[in-house]
C-alpha cells in the first residue's frame, strides 16, 4: 500500500430501525466527515457498499441515490457488491484508487429488518451459487453448518467451544453502545437452550440481521492529526462460492491468501498483530478466521478460546466490539464498520472496551462461505 490513511470514521448503531437507507447513510457519512474535519466538497470520490438493496428494497444504483445527499457535488461514485464482504472489498477498492482520487469516502449501508424471514433467508442465500447451492436449499446458516460439522469431525471442536465464542462476543457487545445486542445480557444457559437453525448451529451461533451504516474517509496523505490511522495492508482474494467446488471445508483459502498478501504489504507476521475484528457471522467462522489469518492452528485456536485468551484483556483480543455475532451484521456496512472499530481502538478511543497495547490491528471480512475475502492491516502512530 503506497499511502492510505483513515482520516475519519462514522458508524450508526447496528440493529432494527425505522430509519431509511439514506438516513442511515447520512448519519454515518456526516459523522465520518466531522471526524475527519472536512466538508463534502473536499472529497474526490465516493464508494458505496451494499448487498441486498435490490432484492430487499427494490433499490439499486445506490451510488446515485447516496449522491442525492450532496446535490451539485458531481464527483465519481460507484457501488460495490461482494455479498457480506461488500464493505471490506469497497475499502480495498478505495485504497487501490487513492492514486487517482486522493480523498475517498467509503460508506456501507444495509436495511434488512423490513423483509420477512422466508424471503430474507432466500435473499441472503443469493450469495450462493444459484444452481449448485440455492436449488438444494443451502442457505447461509446451512453453509456454515457444513463447515462446523466438518470442523467437529476434523479437529474435535465441540458445541461448548461455539458457546464460548458466543458468550465472549455477547459480553463484549455489552460494552459497545453501537452493538446490536448492547442492551442484552446473554447467559451460557440461554446459549445452550437456543433452538437449532441448521445443525449443529443453534440460534446463538448465528449473527442477527441488522440495519445500519458505517463510513470512513480515506486519504493518500497523512493529515496533521495524530488521530489518522495508516492502512498498511489491503488485500482481496476470491474463490469459487460453492462448497462443492472446494477441496476443504475447515478453512477458506481465499481468506488465507488475502491475509498473506496484506501481511506482506504491511511487512508483518501474524505474531505482530495486537487485536483483530473477524467475520464471525456464525461462531464457527471466528474459529476458522483465527486459523485462516495464521493467528493460531485450529487446535491452538480452540485452546485459546477455552482459556479465555481471546477476550479483550487476553493475549489476542478477537472481536472486542462484539463482532458480527453480537455487534450486528448490517451486511454492506459490516466490513466498513470493522475499520471504524479498529481505528477507535488504535486511537485509544474505545472507552470501556479499549484493548491495551493496541498498535497493529487486522480486519477480516468474508462474503458468502469464503467466496470473497478482504483483509486489512491498520497501524496506529506509536
Amino acid at each position: 500500500v503506497s499511502g492510505a490513511w483513515v482520516m475519519g470514521i462514522g458508524k450508526t448503531k447496528f440493529g432494527p430501525t425505522q430509519k431509511s437507507t439514506l438516513h442511515l447513510a447520512h448519519e454515518a457519512i456526516i459523522a465520518a466527515l466531522d471526524d475527519a474535519g472536512i466538508g463534502p466538497d473536499e472529497l474526490d470520490a465516493i464508494v458505496v457498499a451494499n448487498f441486498l438493496g435490490g432484492p430487499n428494497e427494490g433499490q439499486l444504483h445506490l451510488n446515485s441515490v447516496v449522491a442525492g445527499l450532496f446535490p451539485d457535488l458531481h464527483i465519481p461514485a460507484w457501488r460495490v457488491e461482494s455479498a457480506c464482504a461488500s464493505g471490506g472489498v469497497a475499502v480495498h477498492n478505495a485504497v487501490a484508487l487513492l492514486g487517482t482520487y486522493p480523498r475517498i469516502l467509503v460508506v456501507g449501508v444495509e436495511r434488512m429488518s423490513d423483509v420477512g424471514g422466508l424471503q430474507l433467508t432466500r435473499n441472503i442465500a443469493m450469495a450462493g451459487d444459484r444452481l449448485l447451492d440455492q436449488t438444494v436449499g443451502l442457505t447461509f446458516p446451512a453453509s456454515y453448518a457444513l463447515v462446523a460439522q466438518a470442523h467437529m469431525t476434523e479437529h474435535g471442536t465441540t458445541l461448548g467451544d461455539l458457546d464460548l465464542v458466543s458468550l465472549k462476543n455477547h459480553a463484549n457487545a455489552r460494552l459497545n453502545p453501537l452493538a446490536h445486542f448492547s442492551h442484552k445480557t446473554v447467559t451460557l444457559t440461554e446459549i445452550e437452550a437456543g433452538p437449532t437453525i441448521a445443525s449443529p448451529l443453534r440460534l446463538y451461533d448465528c449473527c442477527p440481521v441488522s440495519d445500519g451504516a458505517a463510513a470512513v474517509v480515506l486519504s493518500s496523505t497523512p493529515g496533521s492529526s495524530s488521530r489518522d490511522i495508516a492502512i498498511t495492508g489491503s488485500a482481496v482474494a476470491v474463490d469459487a462460492i460453492s462448497l462443492a467446488q472446494r477441496r476443504t471445508l475447515t478453512g477458506f483459502p481465499a481468506a488465507a491468501e488475502a491475509a498473506r498478501k496484506a501481511y506482506a504489504q504491511a511487512g508483518i507476521t501474524p505474531a505482530d498483530v495486537d487485536l483483530v475484528e473477524v467475520h464471525d457471522c456464525f461462531t464457527i467462522a471466528e474459529i476458522v478466521a483465527m486459523s485462516d489469518l495464521g493467528l493460531a492452528s485450529p487446535a491452538e485456536a480452540l485452546r485459546m478460546i477455552r482459556n479465555g485468551e481471546t477476550y479483550p484483556e487476553g493475549a489476542l483480543p478477537v472481536n472486542a466490539s462484539g463482532g458480527l455475532k453480537a455487534g450486528g451484521h448490517a451486511i454492506g456496512a459490516t466490513g466498513v464498520g470493522q475499520i471504524c472499530e479498529l481505528v477507535k481502538q488504535l486511537r485509544g478511543e474505545a472507552s470501556s472496551r479499549q484493548v491495551l497495547r493496541a498498535r497493529r490491528a487486522v480486519a477480516h471480512n468474508v462474503g458468502g462461505v469464503g467466496g470473497s475475502c478482504a483483509v486489512h492491516v491498520l497501524e496506529g502512530r506509536s
Binding site: L118, L132, V136, G137, L138, P141, S199, A240, S242, A244
Partner: protein, 371 residues
Amino acid sequence: MTMDRGLTYSCGVCERTFAYDIPSCPWCGEALTRNVSGPSTVISVTRVETPSIGHEEVPYWCALAADTEGRRALHKLETEALVGQVLDTTADEGSGGRAGIIGTGVMGRGLAELLLTLGWSVVIVSRDATRAARIASAVLARLERVMDEVEIAAAGARLVTTDDLSVLQSCDVVVEAVAEDLSIKKAVLAQAEPHVRPDALLVTNTSGLELDAMAAVLEHPERFGALHFFNPVVRMRLVEISGSNQTSPDTIDALEHLAIRLGKTPIRVKARPAFVVNRILMPLIGEAIRSLEEGAADAEHIDEAVRLGLNHPMGPLALADLIGLDVVLEITENMRQQTGDEAYAPRPTLIRMVAENQLGKKTGRGFFDYS
C-alpha cells in the same frame, strides 16, 4: 436452466474439474470431458430447520458428498443422512426422456413447453394434424423468450406432431390432456393404450374426474395415474398426484419422481372429485359469484377484498376469467354430479355467462373486460 447433480466436467490437459457444462477449459481451451458420478460418501451434513422461499418445508438435510474420484456435489435430502453414509447420487443420464402428449389445449401446450425447456423429446398427438403442427410452432415461439436460435432449432428437432397414435410407442411417458370430460377421456385413453409401451407410464392430466372409471377401460391400469399440472405449467410449482384403485404403488412413486424431475413439487392426493385444489377453489369462485349476485360489492371490489384479506395474489373472479368460465362450469358440474351435493351447483350467473359465450379472458369478456 437446470443443473444435473452428479455431473462434472474435467479438462484432460490440466486436470481441473468444473461444476458447469462450459464450452471449454478456461485455462487450456480444451473441450471438457463429462463425468458421471457414481455413489458418493457424505463428507458433511446439516439438518436445516429454517425455511426459505423455495424451501418452505423443514426440516430437510443438505449433504456434501464426494464420489470415489473425489468429485463433490451438494444434495438436498428429505431423510436424515450421516457423515460416512453412501448416497446413491447417480445422475440421470441426459435430463430428458421422451414424452407423448395427447391434446392441444392450454395444458398440453404448456406441458410441451416445459418438457422441451428441460431437454425432453416431445410427441404431440392430435386428431387434426394441421392443428397439431400449428400448435407446435406456437410452442416453439414461446421458447424464444428463454432460448437462442440454435437452442430453439434443437428443441424443434426434438418436437414431433402427428395424428398417428402409433408414434406413442417411442415414448417413456404418455400424458392425456384432452377436454375435461370423462367420456372423452375414457375414449382417448382406450384408443391410445395399445400404442403405449408396457414399461411406459400412462398419465391423465385431469383436475379430478373419476380415475377408477378411466382405469376401467384400460388393459394395464396398474401403470396409469394422474398428474394434475396447473396453468401456466412452466411457472406453477404444484402437481397433484393421484391414482385409481388399480394404480400400483410403483407407478405412484414413478409419478412423484417424474414431477420432481420436471422441477415441480408433487403432492399426493386421494382420488376424490376435484382432488384438493379445485375442490377448494370452485366453491371460492362460486361464493364470489354469489356475492356479486347479492350485490355485496362490484367485481373489482370483491376481488380486491379477497386479495387483501386472504393474501391471495389474484381475486377469484379474475382467476375464473383466466381459467375460462366454461372450464369452471364444467368442473363445478362434475363436482356436483360426482358428490351428489347441491352445495356445489354452479351459480346462475355462471351458467348465463357461458351460454352468452362470455368465457373470460379468452373471449375478451368475463367478469372483467379484456377487449
